[in-house]
């Protein structure tokens, strides 16, 4: 039992055995190749096909309906090998009387085509084929291929694609074509010119046909138009195909290198880069992560390789199509899309629900609140010993994952429990009543609301108040198990109108876009006292700053006076004197010669210099 194919030759339908079909179609395409350069090549092809149809028809009957291999062989024998009837005339070097005699004598050396060289191969004959095509020593091609392996293995991919794309030189004719005429820029530009010329001729001919109303053929206008369009696009494709091929190839190589570099950045073990860890944290567990990466590779790699494949085919005019390859690459790409979509949906669903826990912190009301950030080391007393292993450190010396500018995450072992830490942020707004109010809002995300709430509840965060000093932890901690749940802590401090806050210098990274009436940057707000007015926060002790909206010019201005810091001792240094106010409210003024002390015990004056007399 043999499979048959239905074909149409010159409008006659034949059932032909598959192997016979392959032979016939190869034969016809070879002839086409020979006549493609000849004027009227399409007409000759048409005539030949008509004759073949006639011959095949005489070989089939109602009893024997199928065209067999033997029939095709005999047709080819009768018709002759293309080199016999087309190539033969090449030997006729004598000029004939007629001008266009050269039309059927193609008169050119065998056209060079790219093949793999099976006689000279190490692996697939790709290098030797390239060497033959460009007429260079194969050693150089192999060396280049070998060296390119070290550029992220580019040449491995290139080699595989080339192996698939370039056909092997099987027949002697193909081997000759492989070595054929030397290929150089002149040669290529010449063939492109010839093709453009051919295109022009055909257009003119078509124009003439319309003018002269050449309807000698029993075909309607639309058939002719279709034919013309087909020819036009084939020729157009020939001229621009090479250019497009070159562009595709260049882009393919660039993308390939970029992509391989990206994969190596993510995948290579030991290279603990930031995106790697971040991805690992976001995707639930390893399997999804790997699946997602695999899908992404397919999604990007397949089109890149196909660009490559198409580019090479166009550039070197390789007429060879692998249906299996096209189909499977399409399927792989589809698989890539499905995987990426699946993993994305899964991952997105992991973060689908928000959980928010909002607590009010009771704070003692004062006229002035001093806000500062407590030392991180104190809030997480025991950091793990293996910190040193981590390649990335934040300013506290811990491994961190950077998500965006304001949100860094730290993973550290507290005792033996792995914890994820993140930076909390503080907003300062006007209070609706006459009290300072502080709210802590802990958020997390998760696949379900309850889960997200639980994650949010697990976040540990501390604010402590000592007298009028509010001391914030800059880092919140949450138990960490493989997965990151987008935990975050945001604090809101409500300041009543008429009350003052002082922002310690270390709070600059902790406050976040605090509105004030002078539009001062967060970084410039610290180290100063701010009073809440009806319009918003107003600076009490930053003379000169308001006028200076340009951040960069700030360096030139004198440092504003250091504000007091009452919970500890207050020291004021003037040229020759020092004023100290301690916690008990005792005031000591020291100068070069005198020391004055004012306290519960009254005023005490200590005179060092005998020339300066005091009461």
């Amino acid at each position: 039992m043999n499979k048959t194919v239905t074909i149409n030759i010159s409008g006659i339908i034949f059932h032909i055995e598959e192997d016979a079909f392959e032979k016939l179609s190869k034969y016809l395409s070879t002839i086409k190749g020979y006549f493609s350069k000849t004027d009227g090549g399409n007409e000759i092809m048409g005539d030949i096909e008509a004759r073949i149809a006639e011959m095949l028809q005489s070989k089939t009957s109602a009893v024997k309906q199928v065209v067999l291999m033997a029939d095709v062989d005999s047709v080819i024998e009768t018709m002759g090998k293309p080199e016999e009837f087309a190539g033969d005339s090449q030997t006729n070097s004598q000029p004939e009387e007629e001008d266009n005699s050269a039309e059927y004598a193609t008169g050119e050396p065998v056209k060079k085509r790219m093949f793999r060289d099976p006689d000279n191969k190490t692996i697939g004959g790709v290098c030797s084929g390239i060497a033959a095509y460009f007429d260079v020593d194969v050693v150089w091609v192999r060396l280049a291929m070998f060296l390119l392996i070290f550029f992220g293995g580019v040449s491995l991919w290139v080699y595989i694609v080339l192996w698939i794309v370039i056909p092997e030189a099987k027949t002697t004719a193909e081997k000759l074509a492989m070595r054929g005429e030397k290929i150089d820029i002149n040669n290529i530009s010449r063939t492109v010119k010839e093709e453009a010329e051919q295109l022009k001729k055909r257009m003119q001919k078509y124009g003439n046909d319309i003018k002269n109303g050449d309807y000698s053929q029993p075909r309607n206008f639309f058939d002719k138009l279709a034919d013309f369009l087909k020819d036009f696009f084939i020729l157009f494709g020939k001229v621009f195909g090479r250019l497009v091929g070159l562009v595709l190839l260049v882009f393919g190589v660039v993308f390939l290198i970029g992509f391989i570099a990206a994969i190596f950045g993510i995948m290579v073990p030991g290279a603990k880069s930031e995106p790697h860890e971040l991805l690992e944290l976001i995707f639930t567990g390893r399997p999804y992560y790997s699946l997602g990466i695999f899908g992404a590779i397919l999604l990007f790699c397949v089109p890149i390789l196909m660009m490559f494949y198409g580019g090479i085919k166009l550039l070197f005019r390789i007429k060879y199509s692998n249906r299996w390859l096209n189909l499977s690459s399409g399927l792989l790409w589809l698989l890539g899309i499905i995987l990426v979509v699946f993993v994305s949906v899964r991952t997105a669903s992991d973060f689908a629900e928000n959980g928010r826990v909002k607590n009010t912190v009771n704070i003692a009301q004062k006229d002035t609140l001093y806000l500062k950030v407590s030392d991180f080391k104190k809030s997480v007393p025991e950091m793990s010993d293996n910190e040193e292993e981590y390649t990335h450190y934040n300013r506290h010396g811990h491994r961190y994952i950077r998500i965006n500018h304001h949100r860094d995450y730290v993973i550290a072992n507290v005792g033996n429990t792995p914890m994820i830490g993140g930076y909390a942020s503080l907003r300062i707004v006007q209070s609706n009543d006459d009290k300072f109010n502080l709210y802590v809002s802990k958020t997390a995300q998760g696949p379900e609301r309850r889960f997200a709430m639980e994650q949010a509840r697990n976040i540990e965060y501390k604010v402590t108040q000592t007298d009028s000093l509010l001391s914030f932890d800059d880092i919140f901690m949450a138990p960490f198990s493989e997965k990151f749940w987008a935990q975050d802590v945001e604090l809101v401090l409500e300041v009543p109108v008429g009350k003052v806050i002082y922002l310690d210098k270390n709070i600059s990274h902790f406050i976040h876009n605090v509105d004030n009436i002078t539009n001062t940057y967060d970084g410039d707000m610290v180290g100063r006292r701010w009073i809440m007015t009806k319009k918003g926060l107003e600076c009490i002790d930053c003379e000169g700053l308001e006028k200076d909206t340009d951040h960069d010019d700030f360096d030139g201005l004198p440092e504003p006076p250091q504000p007091p810091n009452p919970p500890t001792d207050l020291n004021v240094n003037v040229e020759d004197a020092n004023v100290k106010i301690d916690k008990e409210g005792n005031i000591k003024v020291k100068s070069k010669n005198t020391e004055v002390e004012i306290g519960k015990n009254g005023i005490h004056v200590d005179k060092k210099d005998k020339d300066n007399k005091e009461k």
Binding site: E84, F85, D88, N100, Y104, P218
Partner: protein, 112 residues
């Protein structure tokens, strides 16, 4: 060295044009008919040779063709000599006779 097969092929090709024109001068024909007639004369080794030649002759204006539906198979191209073609054939025939005479004489002389 001169390959005798090659020379024969060249000779055949040279006269093929004349033969085709002669066949068509006796009436219109489509390629298969022309081939049948040429096969008797052993001038055509493979049929493929004919089609490029016919197309070339047609493009030079020596031949013309019309389509005729066939009862068994694709439509046939019936070739016909044009006036220029007839003129050209006459010239060719004349020079051919002269050539054959001359060649024959040369060969005869060589034999003696």
């Amino acid at each position: 060295m001169i390959n005798s097969e090659n020379t024969k092929a060249q000779m055949r090709k040279g006269v093929l044009e004349l033969c085709i024109l002669s066949i068509l001068s006796k009436g219109d024909a489509y390629p298969t008919e022309i081939i049948e007639k040429l096969k008797d004369t052993k001038l055509v080794v493979v049929e493929g040779t004919l089609y490029p030649l016919l197309t070339r002759l047609k493009n030079t204006g020596l031949l013309n063709y019309r389509w005729e539906e066939s009862t068994s198979g694709p439509p046939r191209k019936y070739y016909k000599l044009t006036e220029i073609g007839e003129q050209y054939l006459k010239e060719l025939q004349q020079s051919w006779t002269e050539l054959v005479d001359a060649v024959n004489k040369t060969i005869e002389q060589g034999k003696i």
